[in-house]
């Protein structure tokens, strides 16, 4: 029996209230590991034709074989389901302690189906899952829900909740836990809302931490992983490296200078005065505390305090993507209002990236006269932005349409080109005219436009694993495939993406081998990642994202960048796609049967 697992899953039918306990198939664990990979396998088995907001959709809350162990940066929890935003499979991950406590409570995952008649929350404790009435919590913000449930179940209880946005089926509603970590993308909170599932409370004690099958090998693997992350020269070095000091938002000044920061809904590629929403500025002027997640020495989380109309508001965290979406992309760089907008999104339980895009799309539509309703707002209208966030969460006025996702709304007003989306999900904070690799990464991401499937800026900006020219398209298809496969694997362990700035397949293989209790090679790591990526793509092909689905917004292909660093540049998508498909062995975005057989997917699917 492989080590690292609780070997227990709860299958919860919210329609009947029945809970069944099953052990994961050992073959699935070897092929898909856990977290994202195993969740995708279960969502695949549930069928690609299911309506995402119907009771039949499966909502998987998963941890991995290293969750709840002392493995560094192992605090990630995967939520996998069919996305109401894209119609394809999605996975979204949150930090904090939820994943660890879920393992300590005796579970590798919760597989949730059906829909309850009345609001409920789940209590996960001592290897059991029980359902509880959540009528008193329905309508409350995520923050209020955390507070009430922790008062009820103890401060040790970990709470993840949806907010009003999830209840109101906003297609980009998310989950937020009591460490204010978000499983942000893809609308997993709306799936919970459709099932009337308000929250999950997890109670687990550290003495239930799984032990490695090979303790001696583990000591060595852990020592090595720690040494790479803590290497004082590395960007992850605690209290020294740029990622530790400034968090994700260390990038804001950099991408702005490169002409790789989409602003004013991507009409420009930089913005004046960006430093006031940058990580460096926030650290100096708004930082309260560097918080961290389970087993993480890096502590990239930043608790900050902003002031709005004389009121102090504290929250975590002033992340790069959030600050971009609700600041620069929406046409301003106001430190406090940007922070307040992040806080509101967290409170209502909405993806900051998608919300920022919805705001920016409405702003451009208003300025161009495509939308003439009374609640239209223009770029830089910070108070209007805060009002709109609430309007989306509660589906009021134009917020009702935007809650369907900016792509759907832009199409509904006859201007689909305003929405910078791929497969229905909006772009994050990198402009592919200034970072060409992000173009192919967005286009081929299985969960819609995303920077976390293949983080090509690691290479294009940081020189990791090797430096590439951000303005060159050559080699980016190959790089994207490597990073997609690597991330599909680490998302299945489930380790933080930041671990990849220090660790690679050798380090991951050693850690997993020590827990599993059998040899694991670096080649196997990437093979597993490739299998997961292909299964996701196969699911999407069956769900309707077939040939020609790997596209980019026209703006990146036809409107040249206007800022220094990338001035005049467009994205050479077709050339990159050709290289990428060659590397993948796909036919215009479709996985051929031979590839499915080669990776063991087809025979497994038929089992």
């Amino acid at each position: 029996m492989l080590g690292g697992y609780a070997h227990r899953l709860a299958r919860i039918d919210l329609s009947s209230g029945r809970v069944e306990y099953i052990a994961p198939d050992p073959k699935d664990l070897e092929m898909y590991v856990g977290g994202r990979g195993l969740g995708v396998k279960y969502v695949f088995e549930n069928g690609p034709q299911v309506d995402p907001l119907s009771p039949e959709n499966l909502l998987c809350i998963m941890n991995g074989p290293l969750s709840g162990t002392r493995a560094k940066m192992s605090g990630r929890l995967a939520i996998v389901t069919k996305s109401p935003l894209t119609g394809g499979v999605t996975d979204s991950h949150m930090g904090g302690w939820t994943a660890a406590k879920l393992k300590w409570a005796g579970f590798d995952g919760l597989l949730i189906q059906g829909a309850s008649d009345k609001p409920v929350y789940l209590l996960v404790k001592d290897g059991e899952v029980t359902l509880h009435d959540a009528s008193d919590l329905w309508g409350k913000t995520t923050h209020e829900t955390h507070r009430i449930l922790r008062e009820r179940h103890g401060e040790d209880a970990d709470v993840m909740a949806i907010g009003p946005a999830g209840e109101n089926l906003v297609r980009f509603a998310n989950w937020i836990n009591n460490d204010e970590r978000a499983a942000g993308r893809g609308g997993t909170g709306a799936v919970a809302g459709s099932k009337r599932l308000k929250a999950i409370v997890v109670v687990g004690k550290q003495d239930q931490m799984p032990q490695p099958k090979d303790p001696e090998a583990w000591r060595e693997a852990d020592r090595l992983a720690s040494a790479t992350i803590n290497d004082p020269k590395n960007v992850t070095a605690p209290k020294k490296g740029g990622l530790s000091l400034y968090g994700t938002n260390v990038l804001m000044n950099i991408t702005n200078v490169m002409g790789a920061l989409p602003t004013f809904n991507g009409q420009h590629t930089c913005i004046e005065g960006v430093q006031t929403i940058s990580g460096e500025y926030i650290r100096e002027h708004r930082l309260i505390k560097d918080n961290t997640c389970h087993a993480c020495p890096v502590a990239c989380k930043k608790m900050v305090e902003v002031h709005i109309n004389g009121k102090a508001i504290r929250f975590e965290s002033y992340e790069y993507e959030s600050a971009w979406a609700l600041g620069a992309h929406s046409g301003h760089t106001d430190t406090d209002w940007t922070g307040y907008a992040i806080y509101l999104c967290n409170a209502y339980g909405m993806d900051t990236i998608e919300t920022g895009n919805a705001i920016a799309v409405l702003m451009e539509a208003t300025e161009k006269g495509y939308y003439q309703g009374p609640d239209g707002i223009r770029f830089g209208d910070k108070e209007g932005e805060a009002r709109l966030i609430e309007a989306i969460a509660y589906r009021k006025g134009v917020g009702d349409g935007l809650a369907e996702g900016p792509a759907r709304w832009a199409k509904s007003i006859g201007h689909p080109e305003l929405s910078l989306e791929v497969k229905g999900q909006s772009i994050p904070a990198y402009d592919p005219r200034g970072l060409k690799g992000m173009g192919i990464a967005y286009a081929t991401s299985n969960r819609g436009a995303c920077h976390l499937r293949a983080y090509t800026p690691a290479s294009e900006i940081l020189g990791v694993p090797y430096k590439t020219d951000p303005l060159a398209w050559e080699g980016k298809g190959k790089l994207t495939k490597l990073l997609q496969d690597l991330s599909a694997f680490t998302d299945s362990l489930d380790l933080c993406k930041f671990s990849q700035f220090a660790e690679g397949p050798e380090e991951y293989a050693k850690q997993l081998a020590a827990y599993w209790g059998r040899p694991v090679t670096p080649e196997e790591i990437l093979r597993i990642g490739e299998r997961i990526y292909n299964l996701e793509r196969y699911y999407n092909n069956l769900a309707g994202w077939a040939e020609g689905s790997d596209y980019l917004p026209e703006r990146f292909l036809k409107e040249p960048s206007d800022c220094a660093g990338s001035k005049g540049q467009l994205t050479e998508l077709d050339l990159m796609l050709e290289e990428y498909y060659r590397e993948r062995g796909w036919e215009r975005g479709v996985v051929p049967p031979a590839k499915l057989q080669e990776l063991g997917i087809l025979s497994q699917a038929a089992d």
């Binding site: 090595l224 690691a458 090797y466 590439t468 020219d469 700035f501």
Partner: protein, 169 residues
């Protein structure tokens, strides 16, 4: 002024491993280098073109895949020049790969340390040295220059590439 790193036999020919050479393109820097060390001409050029056998890297990228000799250089640019070796030469800068970690990999794969920064593997020899860190905004990323030569260089290079794979997010 651009910096030029020289490796293996180029060091013997010039008596140096690193120097600064004026020029605004790769071609200009190489011409100025030849003015300083005329014997380098036959090593670097075939007629007017860059010799097939030579590897010239700009920040870890082969200049053949950039603009060749016309590739523009920033003031702080670094060029790495590698001579040809039987079986092929592979070289690249790696970010977030500390020298101590590469040494550990090489030892695990049966490598033998010959001297500081040089390991012998079956059928290949690996040279490595810390290069200038990459500085971008508030980030400083260590860089390690790695070169593999010898009959089995290609296979070992693939092994190193796999081990050095990193990403982020």
């Amino acid at each position: 002024m651009p910096k030029v790193n020289l490796y293996a036999t180029f060091r013997d020919l010039t008596g140096t491993s690193q120097l600064q050479v004026e020029g605004q393109t790769v071609g200009e820097v190489l011409e100025n280098l030849i003015r300083l060390y005329p014997r380098m001409r036959e090593e670097l050029f075939e007629g007017e073109a860059l010799a097939e056998r030579v590897s010239v890297f700009l920040e870890g990228r082969d200049v053949r895949y950039l603009n060749g000799l016309a590739t523009p250089l920033a003031e702080e640019a670094t060029l790495d020049l590698f001579p040809p070796v039987a079986g092929g030469t592979f070289a690249q800068r790696f970010g977030a790969l500390p020298a101590w970690l590469l040494e550990r990999y090489l030892s695990e794969w049966g490598g033998r340390k010959l001297e500081e920064g040089v390991y012998a593997l079956p059928g290949a020899r690996v040279h490595f040295a810390e290069a200038e860190p990459l500085r971008v905004g508030s980030l400083v990323v260590p860089q390690l220059l790695v070169q593999v030569e010898g009959e089995k260089a290609q296979a070992w290079w693939a092994r190193i590439l796999l081990a050095a794979s990193r990403g982020g997010g």
